[in-house]
């Protein structure tokens, strides 16, 4: 079946997340001092590679994506990692806000959440200017 625009977008999103995790896991496997942890990261890389392969197949692509222009892959990975952290933090704040009794604390948390979104925006702008972020 032909993928819809939305389905394609979501799968591509998953693909780029998987790519980031593979890169991160590989780096961490190299850096880890405890052999047991090293092994854990290495086996995770293998798993993630299978995941990305499955996703890429659905997108009718080969897992190794063509490199876009002069993008520094290492920097791009760091940006994506940071952006993911900001998204995750914003979401954690969002969960907390709904559960707090004190109005002042809710407002404070909302202000921090907005800051996370702003920081995410800054990274987004940088990535866009360097061709690291595809807006389809």
């Amino acid at each position: 079946m032909q993928l819809s625009q939305k389905e394609k977008m979501l799968l591509e999103d998953l693909q780029s997340h998987e790519q980031m995790v593979i890169q991160k896991c590989t780096d961490y496997a190299n850096q880890a001092q405890d052999p047991q942890l090293k092994q854990l990261f290495q086996s995770m890389v293998q798993q993630e590679q299978q995941h990305i392969q499955k996703i890429s197949q659905k997108l009718n692509q080969t897992p190794a994506q063509e490199q876009t222009g002069q993008v520094n892959q290492k920097d791009a990975m760091m940006c994506q990692d940071m952006l993911s952290s900001k998204k995750y933090l914003s979401s954690v704040y969002n969960t907390a806000i709904f559960e707090i009794q004190d109005k002042a604390i809710r407002q404070e948390l909302n202000a921090i959440q907005s800051d996370k979104q702003k920081l995410g925006e800054e990274i987004f702008r940088y990535m866009q200017s360097k061709g690291m972020y595809q807006v389809h």
Partner: protein, 157 residues
């Protein structure tokens, strides 16, 4: 700025979420037994309608104005109400409690939908509008939360 298909997707998600919220608030306003809760649901149905209008505006290429003054008034009303609710615990209307729980989940989900969308927009003005709507969804949640607490429907451990 022309919206990309990705941006449009996020807006359409928000739109269908808002439509669902409006339907739910209207239905629940009919079903609620406590007149006070009925009133809250009716008011919030109106608020969600404003959100839907804003999203439709963005989809048509405009940037809606964010009304700060309106929000301040609303907050004042909220604090006044909050004070008058205190000390009314005891009997819990289970049917009303179920409505509250469900709509609170819906608000959490709506806020999360905006949270996901915000990070994907190129136009900073659109991000700002989405952030404003998200804040209001959180405030709706707060209003429901406060009502539930005042009626002993929400246990904070």
């Amino acid at each position: 700025m022309q919206l990309s298909p990705k941006e449009q997707n996020f807006l359409n998600d928000a739109k269908s979420q808002e439509i669902l919220c409006i339907k739910k608030y209207n239905n629940y306003a009919d079903q609620a037994q406590d007149p006070e809760l009925k009133q809250i649901f009716q008011k919030l149905a109106g608020k969600e309608q404003e959100h839907l209008n804003s999203i439709n505006q963005i989809l048509s290429g405009q940037i809606p104005a964010v009304n700060q003054q309106n929000q301040q008034q609303q907050q004042q009303q909220q604090t006044q109400k909050q004070a008058s609710w205190q000390g009314q615990t005891g009997f819990v209307n289970q049917q009303d409690a179920d409505l509250c729980h469900d709509i609170l989940s819906t608000e959490k989900y709506a806020s999360q939908t905006y949270d996901t969308a915000i990070f994907e927009f190129r136009d900073p003005n659109i991000r700002q509008v989405l952030n404003h709507i998200q804040k209001e969804e959180q405030e709706h949640g707060e209003e429901i939360f406060n009502y539930m607490q005042s009626k002993g429907m929400y246990k904070v451990q």
